[in-house]
C-alpha cells in the first residue's frame, strides 16, 4: 500500500515531465532532450530563491517564471532557426542545449549537491498506513494540473489551435493560425510544467545537482512513449504506470537491482503489443 502511494507520487512527477515532452513532441515534432535540464534549472531557481527569501511560495513562482523564460529563450535561439531542418539536427541541438545548461549550472553552483527543504509537512495515518503529506500534495497537485491542461486543450480556442498545429502544420497555417506563436506557447507551457515538476521533485528528493534532470528526463520520455507520444492522457497513464512499477520493483529485494531493466523492459513489452503506445493513434501510411 505504502509502495503504491509512493509509486503514484513518483509517477505524478514523471507524468508532469512527460506532459512537457509529449506536448512539445506533438506540436513541434521534436524530441526536446533538454527538457530534463529545464527541471534542473527550475530546481536551482528554487534553491536560490529559498536561500534569499526562505519561503517556498515565492521560490515556486520564481522557478515558474525562470523556466518559462528559459523555455522561450531556447526555443527562440536554438530551435526556431532550425525549423524545417531535419529532425535529427534539432535532436542534436537539443542535446547540445542540455550539455550547455548542465555545464553552466556547474560553473555557477558547483557540482556539490545542494540541499533544499521545501518544508516537512509530517505524515498522516490513512487506513492504517502512514502517508507523508508532501506525497499527498504532490499527487493532488499533479492531478489538478493534468486536468487543467486537458481542459485547456479541449475547451479553449488556443488549445484547439494547438491540436490543429499538431495535426497538420501546413493546413493550420492556411487556416490562419500563427504556427510559430503556437509552438512558442507550447514551449512556454511545457517549461512551466517542468518548473512544477521540479517543485514536486524537490519535495520527494530534496537536493539539487547539475545532472539532476537527465535521468528523470529519460524516464519521462519513456513514460510519454508508453502512453503514446503526443497524447496527453497517455503521458499521464504512462508516467504513473512507470512510477508504480519502479516502486514495486524496488520493494522486492530480488528485483531491486534490476529496477532500471524492468522499467525499460516494460516499455519494450508494451511497444511490442501496441506499437504506438497505450493511447497512441495509428496512422495509416500512404505512398
Amino acid at each position: 500500500m505504502n509502495t503504491l502511494i509512493n509509486g503514484l507520487c513518483l509517477g505524478g512527477i514523471y507524468a508532469l515531465i512527460a506532459l512537457g515532452y509529449t506536448m512539445v513532441y506533438g506540436i513541434a515534432k521534436m524530441l526536446n532532450f533538454a527538457h530534463g535540464d529545464i527541471i534542473m534549472v527550475g530546481a536551482y531557481a528554487i534553491f536560490s530563491t529559498m536561500a534569499l527569501m526562505g519561503h517556498a511560495v515565492p521560490a515556486i513562482v520564481v522557478a515558474v517564471v525562470v523556466c518559462t523564460l528559459l523555455g522561450l529563450l531556447t526555443e527562440r535561439v536554438a530551435y526556431r532557426p532550425l525549423r524545417g531542418a531535419s529532425p535529427l539536427a534539432v535532436l542534436i541541438t537539443a542535446i547540445g542545449v542540455s550539455y550547455l545548461l548542465q555545464s553552466i549550472a556547474q560553473l555557477i553552483y558547483g557540482s556539490k549537491s545542494r540541499a533544499v527543504s521545501l518544508g516537512n509537512f509530517g505524515s498522516v495515518e490513512l487506513f492504517n498506513v502512514s502517508i507523508s503529506i508532501s506525497s499527498l500534495i504532490t499527487l493532488g497537485l499533479c492531478l489538478i494540473i493534468m486536468v487543467a491542461l486537458t481542459l485547456f486543450i479541449k475547451k479553449t480556442k488556443v488549445g484547439c489551435a494547438m491540436l490543429a498545429v499538431s495535426e497538420d502544420r501546413a493546413a493550420a497555417q492556411l487556416m490562419g493560425i500563427n504556427v510559430n506563436g503556437i509552438i512558442t506557447l507550447t514551449f512556454a507551457i511545457g517549461s512551466a510544467l517542468a518548473a512544477f515538476a521540479s517543485t514536486f521533485y524537490l519535495m520527494q528528493i530534496p537536493s539539487v545537482t547539475p545532472t539532476l534532470g537527465s535521468m528523470p528526463g529519460i524516464k519521462a520520455f519513456t513514460a510519454a512513449v508508453i502512453g503514446g507520444i503526443g497524447s496527453i492522457p497517455g503521458a499521464m497513464i504512462g508516467g504513473i504506470l512507470l512510477g508504480v512499477i519502479e516502486k514495486l520493483a524496488l520493494s522486492i529485494p530480488a528485483l531491486a537491482p534490476y529496477t532500471t531493466a524492468i522499467e525499460f523492459g516494460l516499455l519494450i513489452i508494451i511497444l511490442l503489443v501496441k506499437p504506438t503506445g497505450l493511447l497512441g493513434k495509428k496512422r495509416r501510411e500512404k505512398v
Partner: protein, 392 residues
C-alpha cells in the same frame, strides 16, 4: 559525342570517392604503424588512436542503421557493452590457454562481435516493425537494460566492472585495421544490389516493399551487421581499458555516436570517419588540456561547438551564407577552371551535366510528389543510370 567522352572521367570520380575513405584510415594507420613498430609512439597517441579507431567503427556501423537504413537507433552503446563484457570475459579465459595476445584478441573480437550480433537479432526481430521515435526509445531502453544486467552479475565484476588484460601500446594498429575492414564491408554492402534495396527502404518503405524488396530481411541484416561491428568495437575497448566500466555505455555514449553520424552526414561514410576522428580528438584534448578548475568548461565548449555546427549546417536561414563559404563548391569551381584549360575549347559550357552534384539520394516521397518534366532537376533517371540513357 560529348557525353561519351566524359563518361570514363565520371566513373573514375565515383571510384575516387570510395577510395578516399581507405586513404583516410590508411593515413592514420601507416605512419603510426611505422612509428609504433619502431617503438617511438607516445602512450597518449596510442590511446587516442585506439579511441579514434573504435569511434570510427561505431560511427560507420551506426551510419548503416541511421543513414542508410533510415532507422533511428539510440542503443549502439548497448551492443558495444555486450561486446566489451562478453569479449573481455572470453579473452580472460583465452589468456589462460593461449599465449599469443594477438590470437586472443582476434578470437575474442569474433566472439564479442557474434554475441552482439545475436543480441542485435534478438532485439531486432520483434522491434524493427516499430517506426521512428518508437524504435529509438526501444533501442535506448535496450542499451540501459543490457548494462544494468551486466552490472549486477558478480562474474562480470559487479559494480567495479570486468577486469581485463590490456593489449598494450600497439592495439591501435589492429583497431585501425578493423576500422578499415568495417569501411570496406559497409561501403561494398551499400554499393551492392543489397545496398540499393536498403536505401530504397529508407527512401520509402512501402514503395520498396511494392518493388519486391524483403523489408524485414534487409532491416534485420543491417541491424545485425551494425551490432556485430559495435560488438567488435566493444572488444577493442575492453582490451584498451580495464576495468570495463558499465557507466561508460550509458545512453550518453549512444548519443555521442549518433552525433558523429549526424555531423558527418547521414549515409556518408567519409563524413562518419571524419566526424569520429575530429570529435574524439576534441573530446580527449579538451579533457586533458582543461585540467583543474577549467574542467567544467569542457562541456560548455563541446556543447557550443555542437550547436554551432548543427546550426551552420542546417539552419534554413543560413543557406545563403553557407553557399557562399562552401569549400566544396570553391574547390569544384577551381577544378572546373583547370579542367576547362586542359580540355578542348570546343566544349560547350552548358552541356556539362554535373550529375554528381545533383542529389542522388532523393526521398521517394519527393519524387512521387513532383511533376516530372524532361528537364526537371529531380529526374531520377539521370543520376542513376547515365549509360543506359546514352545507349538509347
Amino acid at each position: 559525342m560529348n557525353t561519351q567522352n566524359k563518361l570514363p572521367v565520371e566513373k573514375k570520380k565515383i571510384k575516387a570517392k570510395y577510395f578516399i575513405n581507405y586513404v583516410f584510415v590508411l593515413a592514420l594507420l601507416i605512419p603510426f604503424t611505422v612509428t609504433g613498430l619502431s617503438g617511438s609512439v607516445k602512450g597518449s597517441t596510442s590511446l587516442l588512436l585506439t579511441q579514434i579507431a573504435y569511434s570510427m567503427i561505431l560511427a560507420v556501423s551506426l551510419n548503416l542503421v541511421v543513414g542508410f537504413l533510415g532507422e533511428l537507433s539510440l542503443g549502439h552503446a548497448g551492443f558495444m557493452c555486450v561486446g566489451a563484457y562478453i569479449g573481455g570475459f572470453f579473452a580472460n579465459y583465452l589468456h589462460t590457454i593461449i599465449d599469443s595476445k594477438l590470437i586472443v584478441l582476434i578470437l575474442s573480437m569474433l566472439v564479442g562481435g557474434i554475441m552482439a550480433a545475436l543480441f542485435g537479432l534478438l532485439i531486432g526481430l520483434p522491434t524493427l516493425r516499430l517506426k521512428g521515435d518508437y524504435l529509438a526509445i526501444v533501442t535506448l531502453a535496450f542499451g540501459e537494460i543490457v548494462r544494468t544486467v551486466f552490472m549486477n552479475q558478480e562474474i562480470f565484476g559487479g559494480a567495479m566492472g570486468l577486469s581485463t588484460q590490456k593489449y598494450g601500446k600497439l592495439l591501435y594498429i589492429i583497431a585501425l585495421t578493423v576500422a578499415l575492414v568495417t569501411v570496406f564491408v559497409a561501403q561494398n554492402l551499400m554499393r551492392s544490389k543489397h545496398g540499393r534495396a536498403i536505401q530504397a527502404i529508407r527512401d520509402n518503405e512501402i514503395a520498396a516493399r511494392a518493388m519486391g524488396v524483403n523489408v524485414t530481411y534487409y532491416k534485420l541484416v543491417v541491424f545485425v551487421i551494425a551490432a556485430f561491428f559495435a560488438g567488435i568495437a566493444g572488444v577493442i575497448y575492453a582490451h584498451n581499458t580495464t576495468p570495463v566500466d558499465y557507466g561508460f555505455f550509458s545512453f550518453n555514449y549512444s548519443i555521442e555516436i549518433l552525433v558523429m553520424v549526424v555531423l558527418g552526414g547521414m549515409g556518408n561514410i567519409s563524413g562518419s570517419l571524419i566526424a569520429a576522428t575530429v570529435l574524439t580528438f576534441i573530446n580527449v584534448k579538451l579533457t586533458t588540456h582543461l585540467s583543474g578548475d577549467f574542467a567544467a568548461l569542457k562541456f560548455l565548449i563541446y556543447a557550443l561547438i555542437l550547436i554551432l555546427i548543427v546550426m551552420w549546417n542546417n539552419a534554413p536561414k543560413l543557406a545563403v551564407l553557407r553557399n557562399r563559404f562552401n569549400l566544396r563548391r570553391l574547390v569544384d569551381s577551381m577544378m572546373k577552371k583547370i579542367r576547362k584549360k586542359h580540355e578542348s575549347a570546343a566544349q560547350e559550357p552548358g552541356s556539362n551535366v554535373e550529375w554528381d552534384r545533383i542529389p542522388t539520394k532523393i526521398p521517394m516521397d519527393t519524387i512521387l510528389s513532383t511533376d516530372i518534366t524532361p528537364d526537371h532537376s529531380l529526374d531520377p533517371e539521370k543520376p542513376e543510370k547515365p549509360e543506359k540513357g546514352d545507349k538509347k
